[in-house]
Symmetry: C2
Subunit: 204 residues, 2 copies
């Protein structure tokens, strides 16, 4: 099944994916890419595109999956750092900011398609973020001995804040980014403290 042919096909499929990812930028969203442009960048004739994806949408959803994968790598990295000790909140924010810096366009993809014009795209991005949030929710529940409800509310709020900070980080200079990180950390502390203080009340 993994003959020369299938292998080559997989390779040019990757070329298409990479071509699309490569064209994303601050000034260029996925929906502004044309099938022809992507094919050209991948060194393919326009019509050959269809051998791999039936649609630009299909390519796009693949990219979102790809982005989700990157996001999960990010989580793994954060967990590793946390295990070595240190402030969970600070490590999370710093790790996320590093992610933005080296994966700006992938993050932009998620950010844009989250509120894009395709319900399927929105659902796909939503799913990736939910996954991200659920992991954090589990962690908070065990580490901080919180109700499932409170832990999930906190996780949700924290992810929202961090994602928003990431979006802002995309448009500012590196110098200001440190300031933004500090503000974000403080906001996460507010949330953590509030959740902890109010968890009793929610329970009772």
């Amino acid at each position: 099944m993994t003959g020369v042919r299938a292998l080559q096909k997989e390779k040019t499929r990757r070329q298409l994916i990479d071509a699309a990812l490569g064209q994303l930028s601050a000034e260029r969203s996925f929906s502004s890419l044309s099938l022809r442009e992507v094919a050209k960048e991948a060194g393919l004739a326009p019509t050959s595109f269809y051998r791999h994806f039936s649609d630009m949408d299909e390519l796009g959803l693949t990219l979102v999956d790809e982005a989700g994968l990157t996001l999960r790598q990010l989580m793994r990295q954060a967990r590793q750092r946390i295990e070595k000790g240190g402030s969970v909140i600070q490590i999370s924010v710093v790790t996320f900011m590093e992610f933005i810096e080296s994966n700006g366009n992938i993050f932009r993809l998620l950010l844009r398609e989250r509120s894009g014009t395709s319900a399927e795209f929105r659902a796909a991005v939503s799913r990736e973020i939910r996954y991200f949030t659920l992991e954090l929710c589990d962690y908070l529940q065990h580490a901080n001995k919180l109700t499932a409800e409170v832990a999930c509310l906190q996780a949700n709020a924290a992810v929202t804040i961090v994602f928003n900070a990431g979006a802002e980080a995309l448009d500012i200079e590196k110098k200001e980014r440190e300031q933004l990180a500090q503000a974000t950390i403080q906001q996460l502390r507010f949330i953590a403290r509030g959740a902890s203080e109010l968890s009793a009340r929610v329970k009772g």
Copy 2:
């Protein structure tokens, strides 16, 4: 200066703006609108568009301004309700959710252009949200006797949470929206409580 001619011009300018707003939807973003479509919807020949805007971008920025105006009306409404007494947080969330329900497409515009491909658009949206946030910051500072720093951090976090909830509200059924509103309220309480608890530490 307000002759018959200038009046008519103002009127068709409005028609263009309304045509553009009218074409926005869950499936249609501003950047996916074409000059020709908008002109047609406004009952104009394509080339007449240029008598009013040099560009689709110029129209778009006008729409963002328009959206900002709507946002400020929202704030005024919320303030009025708050003055009549009741939970500030609850009133704010409920008012905002009402806004989403009747101005979905305007909110979508802000949401999308906030992370769009035009730096100018992003800046414009950012400005409107900042204005929104600053008002809340002022309010928190006086009402809750917080440091400027803590109040602004809280305001920023709160606006982020509420906007994100608004975005989620766009894609769910009315029934689930009540649940979302409750979750949002709880999250804002976390933030408020955390800010209040930790304000001493930040000061010292």
